[in-house]
Symmetry: C2
Subunit: 395 residues, 2 copies
């Protein structure tokens, strides 16, 4: 049994509204008992779902009470009706909860381009309101899953000026995961008190350090959304620089844990692999090389095959458009040096590396030996099941 | 039976030198009976195989007599020994054929990072010399295959000023195929007479129109090489603008045919799909969108699943970094309009599009409705077999 997850001052719920064909939970709700500071980051895809466009506007006020989320339909490329339906989804939720419509945010995930089943959501809102409870975060996490195989929740406690506070985060991922806003959806609740501007600042930084460092398939969704609510119920106040640093560290850890869960549960994934690039001309170049290796289909299929085929890694580095010195690249699998000056280190290194590839988690480090640029991203392998899942997704 | 392919004034051969583990042909040779003009284009990957580095130097003279090619080992990331071995491969060939070493070009394809079995090649050169004949181009084509499932040869005849000339091209592809020098290896022979500078100019243009428009998996090889030899045996002379235009057209067709064969035979591919983008702000932007759609794992797995999941197509367009107007995109499957102003055209269009997806070849057109920019690229679907082939490649 996992321990029950809560976040003081918040309630959650997840129910089946018959949006998904398989009858599983597909409508989730988070309610803060009091008005909360709020901040959010959204997809950089130019094609944005209706709920993203709505939330981008509403979050400007920095306040939120409730988030209503559905899976099974992305409400994207649904034209003028899509926006009407996103507004209606917020309105019926606000009305049922007796709160201001402006304080409700909306998120959707699922198939793009199908008309949105607003009547199913409207019908289910009374039931989800009745299901709200302080220990239903797992139901909420289940309700936002699409091809995820398990719910993703992290809850941590910290202390500021003697006051204990909680940060609870829920995410879903699985496909269309790529750096530049990586998670499909994530929601963070905290009972600490933080002003909206500082909250936004902390959220953007944590996003760079977590969701923007993961990739599953190089595709970026139209619906990516991360929302944080801070309702201050704990009495812990985040105001000065050192308080901010403590909370930043806590949120970094929470969001990186969620991000890694997303990669581990990547569609068909069997391995979580950290790609580290050091010795690049700049951090930016390091990141370009890391992303290219992390997204290479040939690298990812070799990882699935547990084949220490470092030629594909060095070839990806070479085509990345970042400068590399062709004869000076070193490659490590965990701490095993497999390549020195772009040449293989022999059969002993190869056999040691092959053992590392059998592990569920490991790192691959490229040292470009050019400068001090550094980057690290997380990826997974590319399996037969990824293709099966995505060939059949809508059927 | 396919008709025997020849190119007057050229001989070819392909033999088994025991480089590949399965005992199939893995060493190929093309010989021009007389000194030929020659031109070449190479991979833009910064990590280059030894034979590429050697050929880049030798091709500067614009002359060639013979090309020796092996499959089964890429001779890449093999350090100083790699270059010694590439030089030795040319030298032993030149010596056996009794021609100048400088007139021999070398190409390799296969696994990166394994030391090069030069002794096997040296041992097989006398046999391959004895096998040379004017009708052995198919043997040559077989000898350069890696995961290709069939040899790729195109031969066409044309006429200039009453003189018949031939263009015969051989290619291999299958994995690590991406725009920016796409084929692994291609060799073109013609008995027309063309000066090296003009030949280079024509080859670069044809490459842009063929091999640089195809993608299988977004990876670019370290060994990509296209070499053309023109030995003038036919007496047809390409010199003025109109002669050049005629030959350019012929070479465009030859190379595009080979490029399409490579995509059709992409690792695990079951479909050849042309991605056309029109109405973009510029041709460059059109190409960025086309490449992003053509390389999207989610689009490619949906093609494999014969699922008209246009949401993934529009999402790829939206994340491409090229400007798009989110509400103005139209999408066609062949001539069926499936999306108008970024919104689905309904179930009839969807069912018609699903029929098109069952075809082995079709086009997907995105009209961005912004300007006159146009691009077209060729891609294939992403299948379970792609993963199987690439997970097991070295074993």
């Amino acid at each position: 049994m996992t321990e029950t997850i809560i976040c003081p001052g918040f309630k959650a719920a997840g129910v089946a509204a018959n949006i998904k064909k398989d009858g599983t939970k597909d409508l989730g709700l988070i309610l803060s008992e009091t008005d909360a500071s709020a901040a959010a980051v959204f997809t950089r895809n130019l094609i944005k779902a209706a709920p993203v466009i709505l939330d981008e506007e509403r979050i400007k006020k920095g306040r939120c009470r409730a988030i209503i989320v559905n899976s099974g339909n992305a409400n994207c490329c649904t034209g003028i009706n899509g926006m009407k339906n996103a507004l209606a989804m917020a309105k019926v939720t606000a009305s049922e909860l007796g709160i201001s419509e402006e304080l409700v945010l909306v998120a959707s995930t699922g198939v793009i381009g199908e008309q949105f089943p607003i009547e199913k959501i409207t019908a289910a809102v009374p039931e989800i309101k009745d299901s709200l409870s302080s220990n239903s975060f797992t139901d909420f996490a289940q309700s936002i899953m699409t091809t995820d195989t398990y719910p993703k929740i992290v809850s941590q406690k910290g202390k500021i000026d003697g006051k204990v506070y909680t940060v609870t985060g829920i995410a879903k991922g699985s496909g269309m995961i790529c750096p530049d806003m990586a998670t499909m959806l994530a929601f963070i609740c905290t009972d600490a008190e933080i002003a909206p501007d500082m909250l936004k600042d902390i959220l953007v930084t944590s996003t760079e350090r977590s969701f923007n460092r993961i990739t599953i398939d190089g595709d970026t969704s139209t619906n990516d959304t991360v929302i944080i609510m801070a309702n201050g119920c704990s009495g812990a106040v985040i105001k000065n620089d050192s308080q901010k640093e403590i909370f930043q560290n806590m949120l970094d850890n929470t969001m990186l844990s969620l991000a890694k869960m997303i990669v581990k549960d990547g569609e068909g994934a069997t391995k979580l692999v950290e790609i580290i690039v050091k010795g690049a001309s700049s951090n930016k170049d390091a990141r370009i090389v890391a992303d290219t290796v992390a997204n290479s289909s040939l690298v990812k299929t070799a990882l699935f095959g547990e084949d220490a085929n470092w030629g594909r890694i060095i070839a990806a580095a070479g085509r990345s458009k970042a400068p590399v010195k062709p004869d000076q690249i070193d490659i490590f699998f965990d701490n095993i040096m497999m390549v020195k000056n772009s040449t293989g280190c022999g059969s002993k290194a190869e056999s040691d590396a092959t053992d590392i590839l059998k592990k569920p988690e490991f790192s691959i480090t490229l040292n470009l030996n050019m400068g001090t640029g550094y980057a690290s991203v997380f990826t997974c392998d590319f399996s037969i099941d990824y293709v099966k899942i995505n060939a059949d997704y809508r059927t």
